[in-house]
């Protein structure tokens, strides 16, 4: 377990002050040129030195014929060259004194045959110079706070709190837009490629120490340093949650086992146990992994599993109750105190059970203030699941019917949304328990959008909300398990 991220070999890779770039040219369609474009688009603030055997200028930057000609020693070499010249390039970088590299180029172990040997050569060259590198066959790093994007894709959105390490490059680059829709983003995301030198365990360790990372997301296809993986995860989980999405190999296994145990040791079941032992929450899809990150990053405190549901529509309330039940959550009855507090708000058509269904409420303000306040103070519940239904168009129609002139409707609607949003935020800021929303509206709808941007998770549909809530509860249990084991070990040592 490292004390600070500066101690990680990934620190100069994710936070370089200067980069030597191999593979960018004046050919607009080359991959290296695309990478340079990505770096420039995000406004990388350090020096970029394109290395090119023929050109004096690459995309308006001064180019150098050889890395050895550079005026100083860059922090990082970024290599996007044909496979056969990667090793010699790495060697030149080593001779220049560069200590860190990202090798984007493919054609190594992943293609088998000669590629396996090429990768061994590459690793040996790096070792000789004491260099650490990410890849080969990866897309590199996105660290938007440092304005670093070494991937081919344009960075979209804003920096966030999700630290990602992925054995698929696509799940870094192609998630930028997806995450920004939920006002989420990466703190730092690593694509690890073939892990010839730095692997997913190193990334996990870096993200564990990274102050901008509140939750770690892993896309896993296979772990090579098994023991280190479990031990590193267990050292991080007491401080921050780790969520993983794993797709296993074939259940039949590659070797003939003589025992029942051997025959039953398919990778999926094994990884299930390994994740649980590591304290890692396993998600069943990429989208679910980010849902869980959203939940855990928003509410890092311990979570219970007793949910109270606030709705003003029957069906969506019933569906939420069903989703909670199937996710293994509990729906406690409300205490007499809460029922008494709520009774002035409940019309004849409503019901004070759980879900609390207000049907049509006279004073809509109460729905966003007094009612959630009472429910967050309910002693039988740990968490409030809240239904958002009214679209901006409906709000505008109400305002029209109230007699506002057409040219003032938009402004009035914005004021109402503003008041509703502030009202909810005030309630949340004065209460410790998690508040989770769900809706069938577009996430671009004004109130929902405003809340999401203020860091309140509002899930599309109750099932995703319920599963994310259950994951937060699971995290609390896993963390407590690891803490209990650690204190037991300490007691034994004494």
């Amino acid at each position: 377990m490292i004390e600070s991220i500066e101690a990680s070999p990934l620190y100069p890779i994710a936070n370089p002050k200067s980069i030597a770039l191999f593979g960018a040219s004046n050919n607009a369609t080359s991959m290296g040129t695309g990478l340079l474009g990505s770096l420039l688009d995000l406004g990388f603030e350090g020096a970029i030195y394109p290395i090119h055997p023929k050109e004096d200028q690459v995309q308006n930057l001064k180019a150098y014929r050889s890395v050895l000609d550079l005026p100083n020693v860059p922090d990082l070499a970024l290599i996007v060259l044909p496979t056969r010249i990667v090793s010699e390039t790495m060697d030149a970088c080593g001779r220049k004194g560069i200590k860190h590299a990202i090798v984007i180029s493919g054609g190594f172990k992943e293609v088998g045959g000669e590629g396996v040997n090429l990768e061994k050569d590459l690793a040996a060259v790096a070792n000789k110079h004491g260099m650490r590198f990410l890849g080969p066959n990866c897309i590199g790093v996105a660290n938007p706070r440092h304005k670093l994007n070494t991937t081919f894709m344009v960075f979209e959105g804003a920096p966030g709190f999700i630290g990602m390490a992925s054995q698929s490059g696509s799940f870094v680059t192609q998630m930028f837009d997806y995450l920004s829709r939920y006002a989420l983003g990466f703190s730092t995301a690593f694509s690890v490629g073939n892990e010839a030198n730095i692997d997913i365990v190193d990334c996990m360790e870096y993200l564990g120490a990274c102050p901008d990372t509140r939750v770690i997301a892993l896309y896993v296809e296979g772990i090579s340093r098994g023991r280190a993986f479990v031990e590193t995860a267990r050292s991080i989980v007491p401080k921050k949650p780790i969520v993983a999405f794993y797709i296993g190999g074939s259940e039949t296994g590659s070797r003939a086992a003589l025992s029942h145990t051997g025959a039953l040791s398919g990778p999926d079941r094994l990884y299930e146990g390994i994740f649980r032992q590591s304290g890692i929450i396993r998600a069943r899809s990429m989208m679910e992994m980010f849902d869980i990150c959203w939940m855990l990053g928003s509410f890092p405190r311990a979570a219970g599993r007793r949910v109270v549901i606030q709705t003003h529509s029957g069906g969506p309330g019933v569906e939420a109750a069903d989703a909670c039940g199937r996710a293994g959550l509990e729906l406690p009855s409300l205490s007499p105190e809460t029922i008494k507090r709520l009774s002035p708000f409940i019309p004849q058509t409503g019901s004070i059970n759980n879900p609390v269904d207000f049907t049509f409420i006279k004073n809509i303000k109460d729905y966003y203030s007094e009612i959630p306040k009472a429910l967050l103070e309910e002693k039988n519940a740990d968490i409030l699941l809240f239904y958002f239904s009214m679209s901006s168009q409906t709000l505008e129609r109400i305002l029209r019917q109230m007699g506002f002139p057409p040219d003032q409707i938009a402004e009035q609607a914005a004021k109402v949304v503003d008041a509703q949003c502030e009202s909810i935020i005030r309630v949340l800021e004065t209460h410790d328990k998690p508040f989770v929303g769900y809706t069938f509206q577009s996430l671009k709808d004004q109130l929902v959008r405003r809340l999401i941007e203020r860091g309140v998770p509002v899930f599309p549909g109750p099932e995703r909300a319920a599963r994310a809530i259950e994951a937060a509860f699971r995290y609390t249990r896993l963390r407590d398990k690891i803490l209990a084991a650690a204190s037991q070990e300490k007691a034994v040592d004494r």
Binding site: I223, S224, L258, T261, G273
Partner: protein, 234 residues
């Protein structure tokens, strides 16, 4: 006898695995509860062993070549008299064409709740322990939980907690809950075998029976050995 010696002499004899009798000796050295049993080499020996153990007893052909006995008709259950034992002994001897180490005479452990406990070596995670429900039905239920060794009591309990059919570990139809302390210690011990004995490649305790009183007992066991140095992994 030490575990190392037990395995070394089996390897010296060219055995691919320990016989059930030897496997259970190994388990006993790690404090895993096993059936009371005697290896007999004649019908007379079997009868006197049965009398010592108390009826009913179980007779099993015992040989390191016999890895999955129930499929080969060489187990005789619930033998209640001297005559039962004598006849069963004869049937077992006739049913196998192998040279036997002997015929095991074993206490008959009552109980319908069956577990499987095992050890597997994974190239990445090393010694991994498995707990499953089902005994004979294990491969049907596919209800298993794995942990990388070593681990402690808390993790062992969590392993049991992970099983879909964990309810069978609790009080069940008038039967007492399983002794979780012993079960967890068994899981930890199996991991320890994996870490300490490199020559053990796989291990099965199948079934591990939970008696109506909640005792957990290894009723059958198989320890597979590494046949040569080349298939050593981790």
């Amino acid at each position: 006898m030490r575990a190392d010696d037990l395995i070394r002499s089996a390897l010296d004899r060219g055995q691919p695995a320990l016989s059930e009798y030897e496997s259970k000796k190994l388990l006993s050295l790690y404090d895993i509860p096993v059936t009371r049993e005697t290896l007999s080499r004649s019908a007379d020996e079997a009868v006197s062993a049965a009398a010592d153990l108390g009826f009913p007893v179980v007779l099993k052909a015992c040989s390191p070549e016999l890895m999955h006995k129930s499929e080969r008709g060489c187990i005789e259950l619930n033998l209640r008299s001297e005559r039962d034992v004598r006849e069963a002994y004869g049937r077992i001897i006739r049913s196998v064409d192998l040279e036997l180490e002997g015929v095991l005479v074993q206490e008959m452990v009552p109980g319908q709740r069956e577990l499987v406990v095992g050890l597997n070596r994974d190239p990445q995670f090393g010694s991994c322990v498995m707990l499953g429900t089902g005994g004979m039905m294990t491969e049907v239920f596919k209800d298993t939980a794995f942990r990388m060794a070593p681990f402690g009591m808390i993790e062992a309990k969590d392993m049991a907690e992970e099983l879909r059919f964990k309810a069978i570990l609790g009080a069940f139809r008038g039967q007492k809950p399983a002794d979780m302390d012993i079960l967890c210690r068994t899981l930890i011990a199996v991991g320890k075998i994996g870490l300490e004995l490199e020559t053990v490649s796989e291990l099965d305790i199948n079934p591990m029976i939970i008696t109506p009183e909640g005792r957990v007992v290894a009723v059958d066991a198989l320890v597979v050995l590494r046949r040569n140095g080349n298939d050593r992994i981790n």
